[in-house]
């Protein structure tokens, strides 16, 4: 399935985030996938997803400009495919 702005999702419980100067590394212990989160903003969003009712709420709460919504959606969709995120 494809996420939309109104979808809700959260970090997968088997995923660990490691901060790095450019953002963070996300590692899934189950499927051994390693994903680079290449901007501090995407790290903040990913950490907070589980605390908000939808992706849109999270993006606004993190102060992400709406022009960037499409990029964030694309990124979150990719993270869902890698199971870094799970759909709620």
């Amino acid at each position: 399935m494809t996420l939309t702005l109104s979808s809700a999702c959260a970090l997968h419980p088997q995923v660990a985030l490691r901060p790095e100067p450019f953002g963070a590394l996300a590692y899934h212990y189950g499927n051994r996938r390693l994903v680079f989160l290449k901007h501090p903003d995407v790290v903040r969003v990913v950490r907070e997803l589980g605390d908000h009712p939808s992706i849109a709420h999270t993006l606004r709460a993190c102060g992400i400009a709406t022009e960037r919504d499409a990029s964030f959606l694309q990124a979150l969709n990719q993270l869902t495919k890698s199971e870094i995120l799970r759909v709620c």
Partner: protein, 376 residues
């Protein structure tokens, strides 16, 4: 090609390695002629169980997600299971490489019961005639028995690790079929002239023609075969092979040897590439973050003699270890440069009256190196 922006970032280094190789012991039941760590006998200074746990504590704090355990034969250590269990309990996933000698039925079951564990069995020929001259008499049967035991214990998809040589390069399809028959994953890697490989590389490394053969085979089998990004020097042939296409040494990977010395990568066990020791003040963390060697490896490299060749962007000048142990300058072509620039330089070196190829700094080979011969 993979994202250049990410690669630029990775070349500048990270706060902690992505994956690190840790050799638990120099002791080994085998004496492979190409062994990169010149293993055989245990070193008295090897880390104790407590010291090993302390290293793992540090790696946990650094959030190193995954370590690659090797040696020597890591399963020879009496505390092998204690160490890997401690690691996994601390959220550090483990992959270990083994020649298989100690994977009997009982150990296979014990291993199969563990989570976050990958196993890599080494095999350098699809039959004993090809494998045993490199890895030792009986080593083919040992490896196959280990694979049988893992399969019987339902371990799941283990890895079969093949170092590609002049003698097994024609067997790549058969290796793949063998891996498939076990439900295993095939991993083929490049032979480096490291350790005892300094002496056997000349006879074992693939010919120029065979390199093209490897390249074509990898293009055809792409994503289904693991390579550890080890064949990026072949990218000068044409379309890039899947992978990061970069030297990881001191940037995203490193090696901890059995006595705690930290090197840039497993293939450069030489003082020149030693960054420090886990016992140093500040521990592994300081070595990784602040050592002079690692800092310099993260600076932009110069193409040197490769600058005039149009292929530098695709092959990156090849492997530092391969150049170093064949006596070639580090800022120039790889000895296996597919354009032939390395070969020319090597011929010059070999014609020179003084031998200038560096020897590995440690040698733990067993004293009686009898019956070691390389097929030719």
């Amino acid at each position: 090609m993979s994202a250049s922006q990410l690669v630029t970032q990775l070349k500048r280094g990270l706060d902690a390695p992505i994956c690190l190789t840790w050799e638990l012991t120099y002791a080994c039941n085998l004496q492979c002629v190409h062994c990169l760590s010149s293993s055989g006998q245990r070193d008295d200074r090897e880390l104790t169980t407590e010291q090993a746990f302390a290293v793992l504590d540090e790696l946990r704090d650094l959030q190193v997600f995954y370590i690659n355990i090797g040696g020597g034969e890591p399963m020879i250590r009496r505390d092998f299971f204690d160490i890997i269990e401690y690691s996994i309990a601390n959220d550090i996933g483990v992959k270990f490489s083994t020649n298989g000698a100690f994977i009997d039925e009982k150990n296979a079951q014990r291993l199969a019961a563990m989570d976050y564990l990958d196993i890599q069995i080494s095999l350098d020929g699809v039959d004993a005639i090809t494998n045993d001259p490199v890895r030792g008499v009986g080593s083919y049967d040992i490896a196959r028995r280990a694979m049988d035991n893992l399969k019987a214990a339902n371990f799941g998809p283990f890895k079969i690790s093949v170092v590609v040589t002049r003698h097994n390069v024609d067997q790549l399809d058969e290796f793949k079929a063998l891996a498939d028959s076990y439900g295993a994953q095939l991993r083929i890697t490049r032979l480096r002239p490291s350790g005892r490989g300094v002496d056997s590389w000349n006879d074992l490394h693939p010919t120029n023609e065979q390199q093209v053969q490897i390249y074509n085979w990898l293009l055809a089998h792409g994503e289904n075969v693991l390579t550890g990004d080890s064949f990026f020097h072949l990218n000068a042939i044409g379309e890039a092979l899947p992978g990061l296409n970069m030297c990881g040494a001191g940037r995203v990977v490193c090696l901890i040897d059995p006595i705690g010395d930290v090197y840039a990568c497993p293939f450069v066990l030489h003082d020149q590439f030693k960054a420090g020791n886990v016992h140093d003040a500040g521990g592994f963390t300081s070595v990784w973050r602040d050592s002079e060697l690692f800092t310099s490896l993260r600076e932009p490299e110069s193409a040197g003699a490769c600058a005039s060749c149009g292929n530098y962007d695709s092959c990156q000048g090849g492997c530092m270890a391969a150049k170093f142990f064949t006596g070639l300058p580090l800022d120039g072509p790889d000895p296996e440069c597919v354009i032939g620039h390395g070969e020319a330089l090597l011929a010059e070196r070999q014609a020179s009256p003084v031998s200038i190829t560096p020897k590995p700094s440690k040698d733990h080979s067993k004293p009686a190196r009898s019956a070691l011969s390389v097929v030719s």
